[in-house]
């Protein structure tokens, strides 16, 4: 059975894949359906959903189209989530590999730095970083990655510690390979699977952190974000709760979908490992 078919055999993976596919479709088609600025005024203020079919999800306090904002917000959430997770995994894998493979003083120094980052709450770290540097998409990505790379670093180090004792690493030394090449070309690729298994958790956490930063007004002000939409709706929570509920539901579904799909991937990988 192909890995894809095996992946689609677990119900949680199917659910996750459907949600993620819908999310990606939303993000990709946003500029097609709503080519204009999603922050432009489109109709009367505080129009409830399902009243006017040209504005199916209604409008916010300033008369901006909620559906357009939702679709454009999906772009921001996915972009930030994926970019932050990729950055965190890359930094974590490199730091963990260097620490595990070099051992000794290098290991000590890198792992104490990792400890230091782990003891600071990652959300506070992101908050402080964005407040100092100023909110923009790149800074938000960096701020989230700053608090998320320690997990992958620890997993990569543990994996590298066991792989470096294997014969093929000794074989690479015997043929005269440079230690850095051994670390990154021979050891790291074999240490990656358990590190990548963390990616779904990190992407989901990154999306939530981005939403929280936006909610606090520290998101990129030039982009629509779900967190920003919830914050915007908070002022009229009693009269127009849908303004907070719609992006909230989108956020919950996204995180759920990523978790489920990630679970499916891990399960598929586990089956493949036990088969081989």
């Amino acid at each position: 059975m192909s890995p894809l078919r095996r992946f689609l055999c677990t119900p949680e993976a199917i659910a996750g894949a459907i949600i993620l596919a819908a999310l990606f479709a939303m993000a990709l088609t946003a500029p097609l359906f709503f080519p204009g600025d999603p922050q432009a005024i489109a109709g009367p203020a505080l129009l409830p959903p399902f009243q006017d079919w040209s504005l199916p999800l209604g409008t916010d306090r300033l008369g901006r189209d909620v559906l357009a904002a939702l679709l454009h917000g999906a772009r921001t959430s996915l972009a930030v989530g994926l970019a932050a997770a990729a950055a965190a995994l890359a930094v974590g894998a490199v730091v963990g590999t260097l620490a595990g493979f070099a051992g000794g003083l290098v290991d000590e120094v890198l792992m104490r730095i990792t400890d230091a980052f782990q003891t600071v709450p990652s959300f506070l770290l992101a908050l402080a970083f964005v407040s100092v540097v100023g909110p923009s998409l790149g800074v938000v990505v960096a701020a989230i990655a700053l608090g998320a790379w320690t997990g992958p670093a620890r997993v990569a180090r543990a994996e590298v510690l066991s792989i470096r004792e294997r014969d093929f690493v000794a074989g690479a030394r015997v043929i005269g390979m440079h230690p850095l090449e051994i670390a990154f070309r021979e050891v790291l690729p074999n240490a990656l699977p358990p590190v990548l298994a963390l990616s779904s958790v990190i992407v989901a956490a990154a999306i939530l952190t981005e939403a929280a930063l936006s909610f606090l007004g520290l998101g990129d002000p030039n982009r629509v974000t779900w967190g920003g939409m919830i914050a915007e709706g908070r002022a009229v929570l009693r009269t127009a709760p849908f303004l907070s509920i719609i992006p909230g539901v989108a956020l919950v579904l996204t995180v759920l979908g990523i978790y489920l799909a990630g679970e499916g991937v891990v399960e598929t990988a586990a089956v493949r490992r036990s088969l081989s």
Binding site: A170, V174, I175, G176, M177, P189
Partner: protein, 267 residues
Amino acid sequence: MSSPLLAVSGLTKRYRRGGKTIAAVDDVSFDIEPGETLALAGPSGSGKSTVARLLLRLIEPDAGRIEFEGGDFQALNGTALRARRARVQMVFQDPLAAFNPRASVARVLDDPLRIHGIAARSARPRRIAALLERVGLSADLAARAIHEISGGQRQRIAIARAIATNPSLIILDEAVSALDVSVRRQILQLLLDLQREQRIAYLFISHDLGVISAIAHRVVILDAGRVAESGNARAVIGTPQSAIGKALVAAAPRLNRTGTQGAADRQ
């Protein structure tokens, strides 16, 4: 003969375990001449593999001297050591564990050629094909992944990798122990052919006296990290002097019936 290819003297490696110090290798000395096969025999745990790892500088000794090709091998470090590694290669016992599980045959053979600058990038595919043919494999195998080929083929690839850098010494750590009997005989024949043509010396590590008597000129028997006896392979295996030598020889007839010798005699 003038100077030996490899001269080991007083090699010692101790491990501390739970407050007690155990000598895995204790004051071991031996020489290997160019083009000679020296067998290192002994029961499991006698320090054979530790000697191999010490000689390859995969671990550092606590005492002793290793002279290789007339120079102090232990004085080398970094770039100089990596360059020198071209001259002493190793074949591991488990042909699957010895290769990166993600590698292809071509990459495994390409690495030593690239690292030691033996062939330009454009010339390497031809070099790899020649190496494969040299060890009796089809050049088409280059495109395959390591996990897609059989154990015997993998051990031939390991030998091809070892001879790629034109070494003067190859350390074979139980290199045929994991192979089945018919494949074992072919691999031993390949090793003998390579030695005759290229004058490569072997340090042949094994617990199997049947295989040793088929390939080795001289033998060193280790017991608990010390040299129990050494000498001409035929003489030592014929009339062992040490207790451990006698025990190994006493175990050998059983091995002989099913081992290399038996298989060779039947055919």
